[in-house]
């Protein structure tokens, strides 16, 4: 019964951690725009936090470069299980327009396992909210004991 309660609470009030890997800021400010009155992601009980240990969902924007890779892994490993990774924007999916640049590794899924991909350059706030709520469904479906993993 207690487990069920936690499960329910998690889906009703997931906390977000946002990390800008090496994005152009387009998706970042759209993530921030989600928190503000017009889109107001807080109506789903979602709060943006700064501490990875408080967070359930990791929003990653931008391509991964060699230096931000370490930070991303750091943040991901600090987050408690179960956790969810949402990659936002074309860059986070595949590297996008930057994929041929020398300091770009590629999409976020080259470093950590991604649960939800949100497309767009930049992704619209509606799409980001949709992606996060889609991820919440994954929370309810995910079996006990299955853990997200770093690659």
């Amino acid at each position: 019964m207690f487990k069920k309660l936690i499960q329910k609470a998690r889906v009703k009030s997931p906390w977000l951690l946002h990390y800008d890997c090496s994005s152009c800021n387009g998706c970042d400010i759209e993530v921030l725009a989600c928190l503000t009155p017009v889109y107001d992601i807080e109506r789903f009980g979602i709060i943006n936090v700064g501490n990875p240990m408080h967070a359930d969902i990791l929003l990653v924007t931008g391509t991964v470069n060699y230096r931000s890779r370490k930070v991303l892994l750091n943040l991901f490993n600090q987050m408690p299980d179960p956790k969810l990774v949402v990659a936002i924007g074309t860059c986070a999916l595949s590297g996008g327009i930057f994929r041929e640049a020398y300091n770009v590794i590629g999409g976020v899924d080259k470093v950590i396992a991604v649960d939800v991909y949100v497309t767009g350059c930049p992704a619209k706030p509606e799409a980001i909210i949709d992606g996060v709520t889609l991820g919440l469904n994954r929370f309810t479906q995910r079996k006990e004991g299955k853990k997200a993993h770093a690659r």
Binding site: S22, N25, V71, A101, V104
Partner: protein
């Protein structure tokens, strides 16, 4: 007193972006600040060697998502200068309008984040609510909210219909009303002034010596605005740079606040004087030669150096963004500050890290 090194960033609640600072503190007072970059470095200038020079327009838009249109405009103006292309007058007016819309949304974004940095969350929410109206204007006129992709070498992609113009004017009137309502809170409120007045002062001489750019420079009393160069249609508009003299965080927010209103005024002027003509010219051939192009970004002077050798790829594309010029300001204002004032001081220069590192 023992010296401690405190890392600030790359992931920090105040900053949406990964800026990393190594702060050496003695007690609670900062004695030294060293920035560490590289978390957003992609190597974008390199892409100009791989991509066709027309495609680079889309690449430079992604230098920074906030002022993307202005980056593309600067690049296009540079290539047009090399190739000697005459842009139709209507296109220059349209570029002016969109660049001012970008300045408005960027300044509103910054004012909001700045309010957030000293813990005034309701002001942050209010300012971002106004900003959404500006983004709606972007979306309705160009099809996208932020990265609008309207620039082409030789003109612009989209035109404004007459009914859109009247709609923009009506929306701008609403935005202006909302901004004026918040103005008194932002500029005269006791708590806001307590956190910003007298913090992080940069004198006029110091600002000039550090080579600062944009609102950070103008808040210190230096009258320098690249729009005075008269690129696009700015030479046909009545325009006076916004200058404040105190040089502290409060002056910087005042400059940006006044610039939002100035942008509304500039858009109105541009809409009333807009010329009737084509919106693009055909571009033939390939660029050869070198040029420097400068425009005013929301954060300051944007500098492009373009060298082309007559092939479809450019030989060198060098981008100097305003935040790159403003980072030395941080090193100069942070020492001597309280640790709790660091977010305010860092945000006061309007850091855009993806611009800085490219």
């Amino acid at each position: 007193m023992l010296k401690t090194v405190i890392p600030f960033g790359p992931q920090h609640p105040v900053l949406p972006e990964p800026l990393h600072l190594q702060l050496t503190v003695e007690d609670e007072v900062i004695t030294e600040a060293i920035p560490a970059l590289g978390f957003v470095h992609r190597g974008l200038e390199m892409l100009a060697h791989i991509r066709d020079f027309h495609q680079v327009t889309q690449v430079v838009e992604r230098v920074c998502g906030i002022c993307s249109m202005i980056h593309a405009m600067c690049y296009c103006q540079g290539i047009e200068a090399i190739m000697g292309i005459e842009v139709p007058p209507r296109a220059t007016f349209l570029r002016t309008i969109w660049s001012e819309l970008h300045r408005m949304h960027s300044h509103l974004l910054w004012l909001g984040l700045f309010a957030d940095s000293f813990g005034f969350e309701s002001l942050f929410m209010q300012l971002w609510k106004i900003r959404e109206k500006v983004l709606d204007l972007n979306e309705a006129t160009t099809g996208n909210r932020i990265i609008v992709s309207v620039n082409l070498i030789g003109g612009v992609r989209r035109d404004l219909a007459p009914e859109q113009i009247s709609w923009i004017l009506a929306e701008l009137a609403e935005v202006e009303q909302d901004i004026n309502r918040l103005g008194s809170t932002l500029l005269t409120d006791y708590t806001v002034k307590k956190r910003t007045v007298g913090k992080g002062v940069i004198t006029k001489d110091k600002a000039f010596e550090l080579g600062l750019a944009g609102p950070t420079l103008r808040a210190s009393g230096v009258c320098q605005d690249m729009r005075m160069l008269g690129y696009a249609a700015f030479d046909e508009l009545d325009f006076e740079p916004v200058v404040e003299t105190e040089g502290d965080c409060h002056a910087r927010s005042k400059v940006r606040f006044r610039e939002v209103r100035q942008s509304i005024d500039l858009i109105r002027q541009a809409l009333s004087r807009i010329a009737q003509s084509e919106i693009r010219t055909k571009v033939k051939g390939r660029p050869q030669g070198e040029t420097v192009c400068r425009v005013e970004q929301p954060r300051g002077e944007l500098f492009y150096y373009i060298k082309a050798d007559g092939t479809k790829n450019l030989e060198r594309l060098r981008i100097r963004t305003p935040t790159f010029a403003n980072i030395p300001a941080l090193l100069s204002i942070l020492p001597g500050m309280w640790l709790s004032d660091v977010p305010v001081a860092v945000l006061s220069i309007d850091p855009c890290i993806s611009c800085t590192e490219r």
